[in-house]
Amino acid sequence: MSTPAITTQGLTKTYASAFGRKKIEALRGIDIEVAQGEIVGILGPNGAGKTTLLKILLGIVSPTSGSATLMGRPIGEVEARRKLGYLPENHRFPPYLTARQTLDIYGRLSHLSADYRAKHIPLLVEQAGLASWIDVRVGKFSKGMMQRLGLAQALLNDPDILVLDEPTDGVDPVGRREIRDRLRNLKARGKTILINSHLLTEIELICDRVAIMNFGQIVRSGSVSEISTEGTGWRIQCRNLPNALDLSSYNAKREDLNTVPVPVPVPVPEKEIDTGQVSQDEVNLDPNVEKVIILDSGLTETLNALIDYLRANGINILSVERHRRSLEAGFLDIIDQQKAKS
């Protein structure tokens, strides 16, 4: 097995304020492992510690305890940062430099040769969609343009690991799609990407895995589909659903089982409905057409009861699978659960 691109073991960070009165525990024991070639998203509410985690990996903030490696090298080693690209949150470039000068200086800092810089800078600026702005002072750039230039800067040294703190912040939808395409492209070339964003639809589109942080801890991690199906009900696809399926009798039948939530069939197009009794006209469905019933309970018992009921009524079940909601819905659920716990 190849070396993991990023590992952390028990990372903690406590910020002490100037007079040591108030302490902020920004991280409380973070263990992650990112394999080479993975795109991992870090999600979490404001102040969860996402930026702190990224900054520790880059040697900008020193951990209070714990350790971490980049490509097998301990963080803090200069060599570990050689094949690294970073786009900080709210980054600023000196306003008096042009795009070309900016990339040239940052390229030097990354040890790139003059030839390499001369060849790649115009290329990257073009890919960032800033070709006609290459010799314009950065101070005149809009927020989204700064963000594009920031990304070009992060890619300048052809990094193996790319660390992006809210890369699409302020970028228009077309630009965001371009960035997504580029990140997918990089992944195809075996690059590892750690990305921190509040735009969950973006994360959903590009990340293999996500880690959800809250109060300095990783409260959940897994593949995008794991997070977006977790704790959800079932999606039942069936045929021959009669026009007037008497669900009231089913509802009545379930009443003896108080503990089990009542299933709610939903007509196509799919939509989620709160648990409750279903009126007849809501299930006034066309027969001989494929229909989807979404059961908002995750309990297998309920699922099986519903399946029995549907089968007894001569309905053909085509498939049963976990209902997938958006990553955002999954994320909000997990954060709400956290809130309820504390």
Binding site: K55, L58, V61, V78, Y86, H91, R92, Q101, I105, L109
Partner: protein, 303 residues
Amino acid sequence: MKETDKSADLSRLAMKRALSGSLLLTFRELWAMRLTQGIVAVSTLAWLLLSFAMNLDVVEGSISALKIFGVASVPDEMVKDVATGEWVRQAISVDKFVIGISSFVFGAAYFLGTLLGLFATMPLIGGFLEQGRIDLLISKPLTRSRLLTGHLLGVLLTVLALATYLILGVWVAISIKTGLWHPIMLLSIPLIVIMFGVMYSVILSVTIVSRSSGLALILTYGLIFISAILAAHDQLEKVLSPSAKLIYRIFYHVFPNFVEVVMIQSQLLSGEAVSSWYPLFSSILFGSVIYGLGYFWFNRRDF
């Protein structure tokens, strides 16, 4: 070549590149602040004035005529006649004239240059340490010390270039006019650079620790003010009470002697033996300690 030699060479080259990046960043910023251009313009004006607007007639080692913009005047001084013991008016000697002009140029460059230079570099260090910029710089593959050194070197090299431009220009202009070549005047250049460096240590280190370049500037100016008081030690120590004298002494030895260093220069210019190099050395020591603290903090601070 052995493999290890090669990689050592490569990494040395890489480090040079990284340092050049950090230097270039500083140069570009200074240039963009129009500071260097301003000083170059003023310096150019100074030595153009000396070379073209001023006409000197030297007769037997004394200045018999001085014309500035065509207006004649004979600079003179009161001299005690050795034979009669009376004070008489006499044309000034070229030597004294040169010393006078040189001291003036040095003094102006030293005080104005340093005060303005420190003021003008305040946004430079503030920008360097700004959130969103310093974090990106630190994430680059070079040590924090090297990054800070690139910045510092950029500032000091700029000061060196500017001081050299002004002093060398004035020196050449005066020397051609008077025919007197006093290379000792060029010692002003390292003196200006060194003392600027000493005062810059405060602005750099205080900004690193406190994150406030305004506070740093106030402290630096405060130290320059204190050094003016410390320079008057001969007169002041006579009138101080013993305990006040002790505090004064401690201050004298601990703080930079920015103003007293001017004495060294004027003694050098007039050809006298330098009575004490102590103010210079104690200032350098002060600067080194402050830089040490600044580097220490810069290396361990979170950004």
